[in-house]
């Protein structure tokens, strides 16, 4: 390759890395830095060394941070957290939209109970909430209730006389495995070294989640299991929300600096209002191993995980909805054209 062509290629590639710098800085210092980079390049090189490229990227982004100011990054970080927690809720909620809105029917619960429970049981099934999810004291309104609960269909029976809870649990587990239930797990609750207070065996099959509880009584609860893409959608929702939140915070806080003090004060007020309105829902939506902090789907034994609990808790729901207003106002504040400067006309 001729030297001229090689140098041209190298210069073009260095210019791409220089894009990491802010435009104004690049305009002022770009030709000088490029000249130094080309002077310092080894003969025959047509690609920038990785170390040099990494340093240009680091220094360029550092200049951008310095120019954007600390406030922009604080706003971006807070917006990323709020966006991430909101995105987790949205991703989880969308994944659950594919599941039947009503809890499993009674006939199905009784037929599964027949095949799984070792002792005598009744043919009647009770519904603990008819919907897949319900929210006590909400009356399906937007003010929120006391936390999302899972609807379950229950069949009760009696523990067969010869066996203790652990023996019955082993029999249930064997039945579940034999009939193709997956993720079969046993949870034993004890007080110290005494015999178990209760034993719970859970498993999933064909979109159902079964939980057999062996206390002095025997009960079989049937619920909908988490949809297959639930975890993936929840994580993707969180990542997308965090990214969008960070971008929104960064872009708006940089853009608003072009305006006067009045509009900047309005922007700060709107940011604080958004934070105050979204914080209760987002705090309640912090993820735990069994769902979000304020989801009560594991309240009556094992239940499926949901990650929008913070957004349906009493009081947080209307505030989260109201937060859309300051967010829209932020967009308008940053997009509204600047008032034209007054011009004085001169007459001859």
């Amino acid at each position: 390759m001729p030297d001229d062509l090689r140098t041209t290629l190298l210069a073009r590639r260095y210019r791409r890395w220089l894009l990491a710098y802010p435009r104004a800085y690049r305009r002022e210092r770009g030709p000088e830095i490029l000249a130094t980079l080309l002077d310092a390049a080894d003969p025959g090189r047509s690609r920038p060394p990785a170390r040099e490229a990494a340093l240009l990227l680091r220094h360029g982004l550092g200049r951008r941070v310095a120019e954007a100011g600390r406030r922009a990054f604080v706003v971006a970080a807070v917006a990323a957290v709020l966006g991430g927690l909101s995105g987790i809720a949205l991703g989880s909620w969308l994944a659950w939209r594919d599941v039947d809105r009503m809890a499993p029917d009674r006939a199905t619960a009784v037929s599964f109970a027949h095949a799984v429970l070792p002792g005598a049981f009744g043919d009647a099934a009770d519904n603990y909430g008819r919907s897949t999810f319900w929210n006590p004291y909400s009356n399906n309104s937007l003010h929120g209730g006391t936390g999302v609960r899972v609807g379950r269909t229950s069949v009760t029976g009696t523990v067969p006389p010869p066996g203790g809870p652990e023996q019955v649990a082993a029999a249930v587990r064997q039945q579940l495995n034999a009939q193709g239930w997956r993720d079969v797990r046993t949870k034993v609750v004890r007080n110290g070294t005494s015999p178990p207070v209760s034993v719970e065996v859970t498993g999933t099959r064909a979109g159902y989640l079964a939980a057999v509880q062996i206390t002095p009584d025997l009960s079989f609860d049937l619920m909908w299991a988490e949809p297959p893409g639930h975890r993936r959608d929840t994580i993707l929702g969180g990542l997308a929300g965090a990214l969008l939140g960070a971008l929104f915070g960064l872009v708006t806080s940089i853009r608003v600096r072009r305006y006067g003090r009045g509009r900047q004060r309005a922007y700060s007020g709107l940011c604080v209002a958004t934070l105050l309105l979204l914080t209760p829902a987002c705090l309640g939506n912090i993820p735990t191993s069994t769902g979000s902090l304020l989801a009560n789907t594991n309240r009556n034994g094992t239940g499926p995980s949901v990650y929008w609990g913070g957004f349906v808790i009493y009081g947080a729901e209307p505030l989260a909805i109201l937060s859309l207003l300051p967010i829209l106002a932020v967009i308008v504040t940053c997009a509204w054209p600047r008032p034209a400067t007054a011009r004085t006309s001169t007459t001859a």
Binding site: E32, I33, A35, T36, D39, A40, E52, L55, L56, G62
Partner: protein, 113 residues
């Protein structure tokens, strides 16, 4: 002022004899450090920005050679003073360490009258 980091110290030292452009600073730093410090351009310009912001160096003049822009930097009065102070501090530190290594007594101990 806090002590200078080694790349900054070497860059100021490189400029002590007169104005230099970016690539010349890189070469001079290599020579002064006996080839132990190789400044990348990204590192050099980060340091030049910092030293300019601190008022230790300033732009002297510019020229274009074979289509490449060269901007020359020189020490300011504050930069010369900072470099001299740093050199004096290093000289004192080096003397103290040498004394301790020779076992000439604890550093900072009063000399016998």
């Amino acid at each position: 002022m806090a002590g200078l980091r080694r790349p900054s110290f070497l860059i100021l030292s490189a400029l002590a004899l007169g104005p230099l452009h970016g690539y010349a600073v890189i070469k001079e730093v290599e020579r002064l450090s006996a080839d132990s410090v190789h400044l990348a351009a990204g590192t050099l310009y980060a340091a030049l920005d910092r030293l300019t912001d601190e008022g230790l160096i300033e732009v002297d003049h510019e020229e274009t050679v074979e289509g490449r822009l060269r901007r020359y930097y020189r020490l300011t009065v504050a930069g010369t003073a900072a470099l001299a102070a740093e050199a004096e501090q290093m000289r004192r530190d080096a003397r103290m360490v040498a004394q301790r290594l020779r076992g000439a007594g604890p550093a900072g101990a009063p000399r016998p009258a």
